[in-house]
């Protein structure tokens, strides 16, 4: 009678590739939040401005009288994205700021890092949760509004004049979401309390605004406004959509400042995202 080998044999089947492992974290996170009623209410609220603008587009195509309601152009879309940026700010506070803080609090981070996952995968997964939600808030409705306008237009004048708008929407959204998202995650990695992390993120944005305005007032030099993160985003928006900025500054200092914010956030994440270390 043959006696078969009973000893341990490792699994030799197919496993998903490592390069997409961050997607597992992102998918689980998005599923988690999209199944929560509170979050769905928030999402619906964030869609109200898009619905309102959709109504405006529809009305503007109904009669000659309503056609002059508003001028739908690049500035109109940028204004919409700026408005949606307020919701992005809220998302960065909740759930953005708790994404890493919660893992630090529950020690889950040490399990993540004991799996076939790098710290970069982990951060990418967490960032993708935030970016996925932000995509629903900013570029997705903006692109839908653009398509609606194109669809309702009876001629090609709009599309030929404003074909660049979808690229501007995506580019501007990418820049804003990346900067705000990484800053939010960096704040989240600073503390084990999601509440404090949210406060920290809000404080950074608020005091950057106060600091930038204060320095501009004291020195009389508009260049200091780049210290203000909201003003910085205004400058970046002007790069994508054209048009004047509030202070008419050259874009280079703003881009450098943006790079600094992103770089510092990544540095913080690199230093802070690590297994729990118990020192006695």
């Amino acid at each position: 009678m043959p006696i078969y080998d009973q000893s341990y044999r490792p699994y030799r089947g197919t496993l998903s590739s490592h390069s997409m492992r961050w997607l597992t974290i992102a998918r689980a996170g998005l599923q988690h939040y999209l199944s929560r009623r509170m979050f769905l209410i928030f999402l619906f609220t964030a869609f109200i401005p898009a619905i309102a603008r959709g109504v405006i587009i529809w009305l503007s195509h109904q009669t000659n009288a309503t056609r002059d309601l508003t001028s739908i152009d690049g500035a109109w879309f940028r204004n919409f994205l700026d408005w949606q940026g307020q919701f992005l700010l809220l998302v960065c506070i909740w759930p953005g700021a708790i994404l890493i803080a919660r893992d630090l609090k529950t020690n889950a981070i040490q399990l993540y890092l004991s799996k076939p996952l790098t710290r970069t995968d982990y951060v990418a997964g967490k960032f993708a949760i935030l970016a996925g939600i932000a995509f629903l808030l900013m570029p997705a409705p903006a692109l839908l509004l653009f398509l609606m306008e194109v669809g309702l237009s009876t001629d090609t004048a709009f599309i030929s004049s404003y074909f660049w708008i979808p690229f501007a929407i995506l580019g501007y959204s990418l820049v804003v979401i990346t900067g705000a998202g990484l800053l939010s995650l960096a704040a989240s990695s600073f503390t084990r309390s999601g509440r404090y992390a949210g406060l920290l993120f809000f404080a950074i944005v608020f005091f950057s605004q106060v600091g930038g305005q204060l320095m501009r007032f004291i020195t009389g030099d508009h260049g200091w406004i780049v210290l203000s993160l909201p003003a910085l985003m205004d400058q970046v928006g002007a790069l994508f959509f054209g048009g004047p900025t509030e202070f008419g500054l050259h874009p280079l200092p703003s881009l450098l400042m943006y790079g600094l914010v992103v770089g510092l956030s990544l540095l913080v994440l690199r230093r802070r995202v690590r297994a729990v270390e118990i020192v006695t």
């Binding site: 490592h18 529950t106 889950a108 040490q110 004991s114 076939p116 790098t118």
Partner: protein
């Protein structure tokens, strides 16, 4: 270690410090396949060592090979390693099944396969009935078991278990010890830390003693005992004529001390093996009736006490 099989862990000058605090200090060792117990008091460096061998933290100095590969920044290696941390490490709002399944997908399993594997792992730790309960509602022992489930779910070659029996009831401990021994019997390797020494003793005789960030001793309990000759080994011989037996033993060069009791003799020897070899001859020659032979030192607690003092 005397085992000639390829080591599962090889550390060379491994050190890790946290600013002024030393976690692990210049550790060089090899760990052979099988079950190895990691023992040491709190703050000895056990958890730091486990984090180093699971690639969670980078060594400040030295290097560490796990299953023949460098462990730091080597995520594919982690598919072959299962880790059960000492602390709770989960989201209390998730169900046990969702948590284990989620971690399996991080190992690269498809959702369907992960579901199947998660159920099997939960069954192995007797948590199948509670699989749909939120982890926050689990008892301490159940939380410990669900951590074990995620460690074994992907069928690793090497299991690293940090205080796996903490908080378990006696039945849970017993079944977990049995499970650990069964895994080892299948050819897997296990490194288990605990400060409950009799539990380690029931799993393995191969141990590493850690204190102040250093490996104090490694090997078989008996080998370690031989290393500490300055602490004589105690042997209690229960017999019908202790005085007669004591008279014969007192002249032996391997006997370092002796204490006479009403029902026996307690001998202290620096060469237990030599003593045990010679003892039957004396017993037979003098016709002493020995009813019991005890070695109070022959347990991990005694070795541990000697070495960490």
């Amino acid at each position: 270690m005397t085992d000639t099989a390829a080591p599962i862990i090889r550390a060379e000058g491994l050190s890790r410090w946290y600013k002024q605090v030393i976690g692990i200090n210049d550790v060089s060792l090899t760990i052979a396949p099988g079950i190895t117990g990691l023992l040491g008091p709190n703050g000895a460096g056990k958890s730091t060592f486990m984090k180093l061998i699971t690639g969670q933290i980078r060594p400040s100095r030295g290097r560490c090979l796990v299953l023949g590969q460098p462990v730091w920044n080597n995520p594919p290696l982690m598919r072959r390693v299962g880790f059960c941390p000492e602390q709770d490490a989960f989201y209390s709002g998730m169900t046990g099944l969702a948590w284990v399944r989620g971690l399996l997908t991080l190992n690269g399993w498809s959702r369907a396969a992960a579901q199947e594997k998660a159920l099997a792992a939960l069954a192995a730790v007797s948590l199948l009935e509670a699989k749909d309960k939120k982890i926050g509602a689990y008892s301490k022992g159940m939380r410990q078991r669900v951590k074990l489930a995620q460690a074994i779910a992907h069928e690793p070659e090497l299991l690293i278990l940090d205080e796996p029996l903490g908080g378990m009831d006696p039945m849970g401990r017993r079944s977990t010890i049995k499970m650990i021994k069964d895994w080892a019997a299948q050819g897997r390797s296990i490194i288990v830390s605990s400060h409950i020494l009799h539990e380690i003793e029931s799993m393995t005789s191969s141990i590493l003693l850690v204190n102040h960030g250093r490996i104090v001793a490694e090997g078989n309990v008996h080998e370690i005992r031989e290393l500490i000759e300055e602490h004589p080994h105690r042997i209690f011989i229960q017999c019908d004529d202790p005085r007669q037996l004591a008279g014969r033993l007192v002249g032996w060069p391997v006997v370092a001390g002796m204490r006479l009791d009403e029902d026996g003799v307690e001998v202290q020897t620096t060469k237990p093996d030599a003593f045990f070899t010679k003892l039957p001859d004396v017993i037979l020659a003098d016709k002493v009736r020995v009813t019991r032979l005890l070695s109070p030192d022959d347990n991990l607690q005694a070795v541990f006490d000697y070495l960490v003092k």
